[in-house]
Symmetry: C2
Subunit: 299 residues, 2 copies
């Protein structure tokens, strides 16, 4: 279950409330595209900004509309007891697994992070995915820390940030991580621009921002890479270079939000304030890239 | 009101609930010490980890037990609408002002930050203190950003991180900030180790972690510096160098929590998990410094 393409949908807001109808539509779109799993309430799903009740409701909606596609649910929060509440709600909603990023306000020590995962795995009746997202959590996972957490009973997968673009270095990095975690723990790449490289270097899964809004181009990359057609995967990824550049410049969330708004999948200004989304000039650039790459020809 | 020493108390927890009796005791202790203001629910007060209801209750307790000392209340949150809820509750509690740090999960643009402060000042009936705390918020305030936010009606003070230790460089930095904000906006130093330097360089206030737990040594530094006795202030601060070293090594929050626990002001393990606090060996070092400096002779 922790292999292949996991799509991270937005949780669109309208007037500071979750647009449940638009969210359900995103989930049905992903199920129709036959992604391998859906991760609701990832960073792209703005989990950190939503109330406990909003998150409970979103978890239920995701499972309700995903059909046969397994749904993973993000349960991160700043306080351990809040994480356990989200865990309970995700389980009640029918999540196949939960995704946990160690959010921080005060800097966390490695012992704090291990303690958090230890508590959560001890309470969880579903598998736990470790979410290493240093750009938002400001927690740096060393390889040793992967090893300490990977040993915990109930850990199913590691979501790692990008790998080096060079294939040999990428393989070395994946091998290095593989060496410190049990064999049943899958390794999933994030950082969409390096996904083709990561999958070709031995990652089992791709935890994808892009796929949450545009599943088809992401599936083309994932299917090729996981079938061993590395060149085809890299070529399909390189074709999206103008999109990756926008991700790098504005952050992937603001770009996919603009794309989803442009394609009328979500309402305008769908991000939680204070996140203002892209301005008009930036949206024009995104629209041109979507147009040039034919990304609006999606089913 | 936005001058002198503002003390930042802990919000102690016991079994994952606010220890209201211990918190009230901290506030009464600060009022008795005659600090110039008390800032409840600062970073030292773990505001980011507490529920809306816990924060509402803590704001009320602070005002109830502070006597004549003005109470400022931290209202930061990741989502603007949550900030406005905290603002409303702080006002209802009788806060003399509110303190707002631009918390982030997704990186914020300058426009996002200005938009947040613009919304909050427009809704607030009390003055707003800008809380620049890059180590926790991961927002970097440029001098230009101070200027944009300082112009907003309702901004009363800037809480800035440390200044350079060199007196001339410190004065130049304070002058640089002063030049971009209106004259009625006070400038308060944080980063306790540089407070003597900051106050002597022209800062009006000291927003102090130390003072929340040990008000008297902080008052000695503040009173000397603000009376123009810079050498005396720096000497009083230098005397605490072993404490500043511990702040640098473990973060000020974990150190003052250990001090407060040692002095029986708060229960053991008073920080919100996943923050584990200091281990036994680290606590021994803190205890030795407290003992060597005579900090347990506090009234």
């Amino acid at each position: 279950m922790f292999t292949g393409l996991s799509a991270f949908p937005l949780t669109p807001l309208a007037n500071d409330a979750v647009d449940e109808s638009a969210f359900a539509g995103l989930i049905r779109r992903l199920a129709a595209a036959q992604v391998d799993s859906i991760t609701a309430l990832g960073s792209t799903g703005s989990y950190a900004y939503l109330s406990t009740e909003e998150r409970r409701r979103v978890a239920h909606l995701a499972v309700e509309h995903a059909g046969d596609v397994p749904v993973f649910v993000g349960i991160g929060a700043l306080r351990t007891s809040q994480v356990l509440t989200h865990l309970e709600h995700a389980q009640q909603a029918g999540a196949a697994a939960v995704l946990l990023a160690p959010m921080s306000y005060q800097p966390l020590t490695d012992d704090d992070v291990v303690g958090l995962f230890d508590t959560v795995t001890a309470h969880s009746s579903v598998p736990v995915i470790v979410y290493d997202n240093p750009g938002t959590t400001h927690v740096t996972f060393s390889t040793e820390l992967y090893g300490r957490i990977g040993q915990l009973t109930g850990i199913a997968s590691l979501k790692i940030p990008g790998v080096p673009a060079d294939p040999q270095q990428a393989r070395a990095r994946v091998r290095e991580i593989r060496a410190v975690v049990p064999a049943h723990v899958s390794i999933g790449i994030s950082g969409d621009a390096t996904a083709a490289a990561g999958l070709s270097a031995g990652c089992d899964a791709w935890y994808s921002v892009l796929a949450g809004t545009l599943p088809d181009p992401a599936l083309r990359i994932a299917r090729a890479a996981l079938a061993g057609r590395a060149e085809e995967a890299v070529a399909a990824s390189d074709r999206l270079a103008p999109l990756w550049e926008l991700f790098g410049e504005f952050g992937s969330l603001r770009v996919v939000a603009a794309v989803a708004e442009q394609l009328d999948l979500v309402p305008r200004a769908c991000l939680p304030l204070p996140l203002q989304g892209l301005d008009e000039g930036q949206r024009d650039r995104v629209a041109r890239v979507v147009d040039d790459l034919g990304l609006d020809d999606q089913p």
